[in-house]
Subunit: 346 residues, 2 copies
């Protein structure tokens, strides 16, 4: 089965995406005929030789010697001296953050009729922006933490009680995120967050709250859930933790949770997933507070595709590939122009 892995992107998570792609390669290469498509920070696509799928290939700029690809209807095109070669296969969108998760790649691939695993453009918008995620969750009856919004050009007045957490609205992972414990720390935390976004989300910081992650996807009308994981505790992810997160490939143990809680987590996941996230394998991160489940965030392209949460990751990807959503075709027959022309007597 052919599959291309797309990674890189003009994104603060560009490098993390490279790490993720290398990990997923290791998990899928025995079952798939894989190609690797790198998107550089200027949006040039390159076809990467499988043996060169190492982080240093990109940090040293060696990818620039490889074949350039352009987007055409149905896939990618490689131009050469003796003509062009078409590359047509489904694509796994593994660009984390900007481009991949903000709806750009989804729009491009839908426009050029390229089948892909990943969030579609609306799903991207709602998961990419933490503020919009709150609107979506509220409309679907899924709880989230209380929050307030601060905009770059507004007065820096925060009503939430200390300690609270300050997050740029539109970045994944832990980039630009701070915990603010007292008034003296606020300005610096906002300065950092405003480096990355004009809009900042503030939520109460609750130490010691239980966290649970659940991944899954829908195929043929049914959701396949991963195991529930209780992520390793840390106030938040630092540099090395993040690397560990995106390069994870070993299977993890299921969290010791009650059947009732698994049911609650799955219900919340299902409400968020369907029908907006069809075509994507997503990971939802939840809090449990006093027996209630709260959505923390939606990762529509989780680090290394959350492969470590699935019993058989290759089989999961195969199943999802067999059930990608079709974009409804619109046929134009020019009846309207014909009738105008007739009405005008032309």
């Amino acid at each position: 089965m052919k599959l291309a892995i797309l990674f890189g992107g003009a994104s603060y998570e560009h490098e993390i995406s490279i790490v993720s792609a290398i990990t997923v390669k290791g998990k899928l290469e025995s079952k798939f005929d894989l190609s690797f498509i790198f998107c550089d920070q200027d949006h040039q696509f390159y076809l990467i030789e499988p043996s060169k799928m190492k982080a240093v290939t990109f940090s040293r700029g060696e990818h620039r010697k490889m074949a350039k690809l352009g987007l055409i209807n149905g896939g990618f095109e490689q131009r050469g001296l003796f003509g062009t070669k078409r590359h047509e296969m489904p694509v796994l969108n593994l660009i984390h953050g900007g481009d991949g998760e903000d709806g750009s790649i989804a729009s491009l691939f839908d426009f050029f009729h390229i089948p892909f695993i990943g969030p579609r453009k609306e799903a991207s918008m709602f998961s990419f922006d933490k503020h919009y995620t709150k609107w979506l969750a509220a409309s679907l009856g899924v709880k989230t933490l209380p929050y307030e919004i601060v905009r770059k050009d507004e007065k820096r007045a925060v009503a939430t009680a200390y300690p609270f957490i300050v997050k740029p609205a539109r970045l994944g992972s832990s980039i630009g995120v701070s915990i603010v414990r007292e008034a003296g720390e606020l300005d610096y935390a906002l300065d950092v967050a405003f480096e990355f976004d004009e809009v900042v989300v503030i939520e109460p910081f609750m130490a010691g709250v239980k966290e649970y992650n659940l991944a899954g996807f829908s195929a043929r009308g049914e959701i396949t859930y991963s195991i529930v994981e209780e992520p390793q505790k840390a106030e938040f992810l630092d540099f090395e933790k993040k690397y560990l997160d995106f390069s994870r490939s070993g299977h993890v143990a299921e969290a010791a949770v009650s059947e009732a809680l698994v049911g609650q987590l799955r219900d919340a996941f299902k409400a968020i997933y369907a029908p907006l996230f069809e075509g994507a394998l997503i990971r939802c991160d939840f809090f449990e507070i006093e027996g209630e489940v709260y959505l923390n965030e939606i990762n529509p392209i989780p680090g290394s595709m959350a492969n470590y949460l699935f019993e058989d990751f290759s089989a999961s990807i195969q199943k999802l590939l067999g059930s990608l959503p079709d974009k409804k075709a619109i046929r134009v027959n020019y009846d309207y122009i014909h009738s105008i022309s007739q009405a005008k007597g032309k």
Copy 2:
């Protein structure tokens, strides 16, 4: 000043977009060096000779004899026997409905670094879907009519009192819209709306309510407002009315409204516009009910760019072109990979 007009698209409003482009050509050709780029229903781009900018060119398929264009970084590319020619100029996105107003073209142009007039992808998403428009307006303190949502796969239970109006969530103009006066009409109206969308918005139908349209755009931090128009009354637009709407070029009279109402309309427009709609010239359609202003819908690419509402339409477009938003560039320096490599001793 060079400017390309992009029109067509895989959209139920494909033909209306052709009418709109022909109208805008008439309004701008004396002041701009115009090119015309047609997007067919399969997403092939064509460069249209200005003298062939007539509706029958497209209904007869004559555009297929003209130069094909491909998207490249910075613009469009025309391939020929003796090499390729680049077309680089700002683009006025005049694709109404799908593709143009749903964020696809915005994503493509942002991705390929093509400057354009039109809504950016988030703005598109919120204006394209009437349901999401309600969320946006609520968050900005702008009133809209009460509503309920019916989904295709759900029970057809409607709580709104008759008469009400049934609209597909994601289509502009009057396509798929019905007024339902009694229970016997509901099923048919929903069947029609579900032809076009899986999600339907239901709002009370209020006969005799005053309607006002206001267009505008932001340039250099300031909004330029059009005159306020009271659109011609009709329960809703039929076939010929729609043609008249998209081919309008004659200047219209300002509605006889109080200064206070103009102020209210402008305040609501400004709240909706900034900062989400930067780069676009939009038309907001409002209701006035008991002295209060309600947003009906946002047209982020209004028919014929609402040229008839501006004193000097060419000057307005020039002003907007001089103030298009820049996408913040993200530079990748591979510090992260370098530090991982060092940490791993490689």
